[in-house]
């Protein structure tokens, strides 16, 4: 079907401005296919159902809008002693990174893997993204597959002790960065991936994660610092029997953040948790979490926990979906999205969906929005706590449920500190 003219024009303008990078035959083919499907789908527009609450115009525009470069927070996650990979404006910086090796671990970057004729990543690169295009089209993800120049390729063959940390740094004020990561967790293996930093004025990432039977994947990321940056991220996961997938995102600042997470639970008894905490201050702040979890096996457990604190005209969006396919009996699905609006100018827009085709399942979802409780505030004030401290305390308590989704206490504490610091700086 032909695209509407407005969409065709915007798509042409952007696709004309990008180039498909060179690589080995398999990678070139994957990129070309992705380019073709991007052109067929057309880039997103406000009139698309899943973009009704977030205007994708600046993500689609040919040039990245400029964003001031701020200092990076290098201290975060350092207590975990991670294997660190540094990307500067979207390019892997080997000199600033650790040696790429570890027990039970194969690790490299896309630029290097893509030059090889045969690489295990070819079974996943663009494959999970393609699977995630149905039933909801995600053209920004296929554009990423077509144009990504770098990223990390991780294969865990057993338990990996050290977390792997991707630190994104910026030098240019108006650069695009397109990163595409592939993670393969073999049967019984376990790996933790950390991400931090804002990477570019406009960042696009796609992370494809395949977790085999009994495997575990933990993902903790912090998106923040630079107020004017924009980003759209996609996570596509396919998880097997008895496997565990857990992802948590903390977002502070940022003009525009759109995080898509698409999980297919293909094996029985799998567990998938996706959570996020976000604090937004100021009219420019717009944060969108879009999650799509498909239960396609028995006894799956999924949780979506998203909390947003918004002030001074900030906008928070949540679009969550639990799809339970026919036969996915004994599914346990839970979805909660809550927002705390600290003033009258902020907005919360939500679409928490359920689509259920199996009769013996328990799925629940909830969504609430409101101001800070006057009673709770009064109670704390009457105990001698200042209004600012009381507000911060109640805000942290509100966000706590999402932070509890992080399995590693040390990492969780790291993020709690960032959050408390942010609230301190932005209070009042």
């Amino acid at each position: 079907m032909a695209l509407p003219q407005f969409k065709q024009d915007a798509t042409d303008a952007r696709l004309d401005a990008v180039t498909v990078p060179d690589g080995a035959a398999w990678l070139t083919q994957a990129r070309k296919d992705a380019m073709t499907r991007t052109a067929t789908m057309g880039l997103p527009h406000r009139r698309d159902e899943y973009w009704k609450y977030t205007d994708p115009a600046t993500l689609v525009a040919a040039d990245a809008p400029a964003a001031e470069v701020l200092d990076d927070d290098d201290a975060i996650f350092s207590d975990a002693n991670p294997l660190t990979l540094v990307f500067v404006d979207g390019v892997f910086d080997a000199a600033a990174s650790d040696d790429l090796k570890g027990e039970n671990l194969e690790i490299g970057c896309l630029a290097e893997a893509g030059a090889q004729d045969i690489h295990w990543a070819k079974d996943l690169y663009g494959v999970l993204e393609l699977a995630g295009q149905n039933p909801v089209q995600r053209p920004l993800a296929s554009l990423n597959t077509a144009t990504a120049t770098d990223g990390v390729m991780i294969r865990a063959t057993g338990p990996v002790d050290r977390p792997i940390c991707l630190r994104y740094r910026r030098k240019e004020s108006a650069a695009d960065a397109v990163l595409h990561h592939v993670v393969r967790v073999e049967a019984g293996a376990k790996v933790t991936l950390l991400e931090t930093g804002s990477a570019a004025a406009r960042l696009s990432t796609v992370t494809e994660v395949s977790v085999a039977d009994g495997g575990e994947f933990h993902h903790v990321r912090q998106q923040g610092r630079d107020h004017a940056r924009r980003m759209n991220t996609h996570t596509f996961a396919r998880i097997g029997e008895g496997s565990v997938f857990k992802s948590f995102t903390l977002s502070l600042n940022g003009v525009l953040t759109r995080n898509d997470c698409v999980i297919d639970m293909l094996g029985d008894d799998a567990v998938a948790h996706v959570a996020g905490a976000c604090v937004g201050d100021g009219e420019g702040f717009h944060h969108d979490d879009t999650v799509f979890i498909t239960h396609d096996a028995l006894r799956g457990e999924s949780r979506q926990v998203f909390k947003k604190v918004l002030r001074n005209g900030a906008v928070g969006v949540f679009q969550g979906k639990i799809l339970v396919k026919e036969g996915a009996q004994k599914t346990d699905g839970y979805q909660i999205s809550q927002s705390l609006l600290l003033d009258d100018d902020s907005q919360f827009l939500a679409k928490p969906e359920l689509e259920i085709y199996a009769d013996d399942v328990a799925c629940s979802h909830g969504s609430t929005s409101g101001a800070i409780s006057e009673e709770a505030l009064f109670y704390l004030r009457s105990r001698g706590v200042s209004e600012k401290a009381a507000t911060n305390l109640l805000t942290l308590a509100f966000l706590a449920e999402a932070l509890e989704e992080i399995a590693d206490e040390g990492l969780a504490d790291d993020l709690r500190d960032r959050l408390a610091g942010w609230l301190d700086r932005h209070a009042g």
Binding site: Q329, L349, A350, P352, D359, S367, G370
Partner: protein
């Protein structure tokens, strides 16, 4: 009999519930056809001539015709909406009759003897008593013989209203209750002032089509300060084959008035799907209150999903005045396809909207239904309670919008929607849209039976109940709320529904 007999039901679902669903949505009781009633048809299809013909049959003034023609022109440029979770075969809008009238209605009968006996037979079979039947068939003067009753009925048979009862008695109270075609002739000022102000002719594909070709429907005006002395009711019957029914209802509750309105619908069993695209507009002024209750029992199609009514309905209430109140209650058991979102525009400060719905879908029925609560005024309140039950191969979707505008300070919404699946081949879906644009309002959306109000739970626990008992009590109490919202006239249906428990629902 329905496939529900053989279906294996998961633990926790009452057998009583399954039986009740089977009974309610099983064999269709109103499925006979009265093909021997002689009908007048307009030619098939829709075009400016048909629009003009409908207008002239109803002896309408020029402004009404102009209004219809404008809507038709707009409709020609529109396309069929496809956002609902419905699989609907393409409808050939040119292959339908847009106007069908029993021949005997050409000249209004003066006595019972003059009425086509077959028409009377139809109402008898629908369970409407003889005396009332006389009135329904449009016999003048029959009302005086009746003992005092409390329901006035407007009966719509295919494209025309065949009669409205108790008009004289209502008139004494100042209430106008008549067919919309009569209102356009007799009260053009009122119709002109309000028609299309809640659902504009440009609203959506089906509402626009309705604006062009609506043939009849009901009109209610309750003057300031009047409490309508009886329940008002419309009974819709589609009889003719390949006929689309497009009725239009306009209800105006002036300042401080109150009216309760009931609606019932049936249609014969036919192999070919039939279209029903109605528009209901309600205007509620300061301190007024309207209760609108529907038991929708259109023919749902057979067990293989053949035939049935395609029900595409736009219903909206505009709470214009301060402290105005509207309550929608619907029990949806019929129709092959239901596409219906009775909505509330809460414009007046302190106005209230409530929506209670039970939707039961069996065999190959598809329902995509819910509500919109648009909070514009300060301290406005809304409550949504929706129960969806799917069985067989049916798909049941709750779709709703709760919108708190920046000026709707200190407003409140509570939404609860539960779904129950009986059998492993059906589906239950929830698509809520929540838009909050100020922080003094509270919005809560829930879709689970286990999450009940903590205070209520604590109260029950403190009285010595265990957790399970307490939850059951609170949840059942909640369910009953929908049924209690149904007026007495729907007691039969309500009784059948009481047996339905939402234990084991999936959220």
């Amino acid at each position: 009999m329905t496939a529900l007999d053989q279906v294996e039901v998961k633990e926790g679902v009452d057998q009583e519930t399954v039986d009740a669903v089977a009974q309610l949505s099983g064999a269709y009781k109103y499925g006979w056809n009265d093909d021997d009633i002689e009908m007048d048809y307009a030619p098939k299809g829709v075009n400016p001539d048909i629009v003009a013909l409908i207008s002239s049959k109803n002896e309408e003034p020029q402004w009404m015709l102009d209004w219809r023609q404008a809507a038709f022109t707009r409709w020609e440029g529109m396309s069929v909406p496809n956002w609902a979770m419905l699989k609907v075969a393409d409808i050939d809008f040119q292959d339908l009759y847009y106007y069908a009238r029993p021949k005997s209605m050409e000249v209004k009968p003066k006595s019972l003897d003059e009425v086509d006996p077959k028409l009377l037979e139809t109402y008898k079979k629908l369970g409407i008593p003889l005396k009332e039947q006389a009135i329904l068939a449009g016999v003048e003067g029959a009302e005086n013989d009746l003992p005092e009753r409390k329901v006035a009925v407007d009966a719509v048979f295919d494209s025309v209203s065949v009669g409205t009862t108790f008009q004289a008695e209502l008139k004494k109270a100042g209430v106008i209750f008549c067919s919309i075609s009569e209102a356009i002739r007799e009260y053009p000022e009122l119709v002109k002032k309000y028609l299309g102000t809640v659902v504009p002719p440009s609203d959506n594909f089906y509402a626009t089509l309705n604006s062009a070709v609506f043939s009849d429907g009901s009109f209610v005006y309750v003057p300031p300060g009047v409490r309508c002395p009886m329940e008002l009711s419309t009974y819709f019957r589609i009889n003719a084959e390949n006929t689309g029914q497009f009725e239009r209802t306009l209800i105006i509750a002036d300042k401080g008035s109150y009216v309760s309105y009931l609606e019932g619908c049936t249609a014969p069993k036919r192999d070919v799907a039939q279209l029903h695209a109605a528009v209901v507009e309600i205007i509620i002024e300061e301190d007024a209150e309207v209760k609108y209750s529907t038991v929708q029992n259109w023919y749902p199609g057979d067990e293989e999903g053949k035939g049935g009514i395609y029900n595409f309905v736009t219903k909206r209430a505009d709470c214009r005045g301060a402290r105005s109140k509207v309550m929608w209650t619907q029990v949806e058991t019929g129709s092959a396809v239901t596409w219906k979102y009775p909505s509330c525009i809460l414009r007046g400060d302190d106005s209230q909207g409530e929506f209670y719905s039970i939707a039961i879908a069996n065999n190959y029925q598809q329902a995509d239904t819910g509500t919109k609560m648009v909070h514009l005024g300060k301290r406005t309140k809304s409550r949504i309670v929706s129960k969806g039950i799917s069985a067989g191969h049916a798909q049941n979707t709750y779709r709703g919008l709760v919108s708190m505008h920046p000026k709707a300070k200190e407003s409140r919404n509570y939404t609860q929607c539960d779904s129950l699946l009986i059998g492993s081949q059906c589906g239950a879906h929830t698509v809520p849209y929540i838009e909050v644009k100020n922080n003094s309002s509270r919005v809560e959306h829930e879709a689970t039976t286990s999450k009940v109000d903590d205070d209520q739970l604590f109260y029950c626990r403190s009285r010595g109940m265990d957790e399970e008992e307490a939850v059951a009590l609170v949840v059942n109490g909640f369910c009953k709320e929908v049924l209690q919202a149904l007026p007495m006239e729907f007691a039969m249906e309500a009784q059948a529904l009481v047996a339905i428990s939402l234990e084991g629902s999936v959220g």
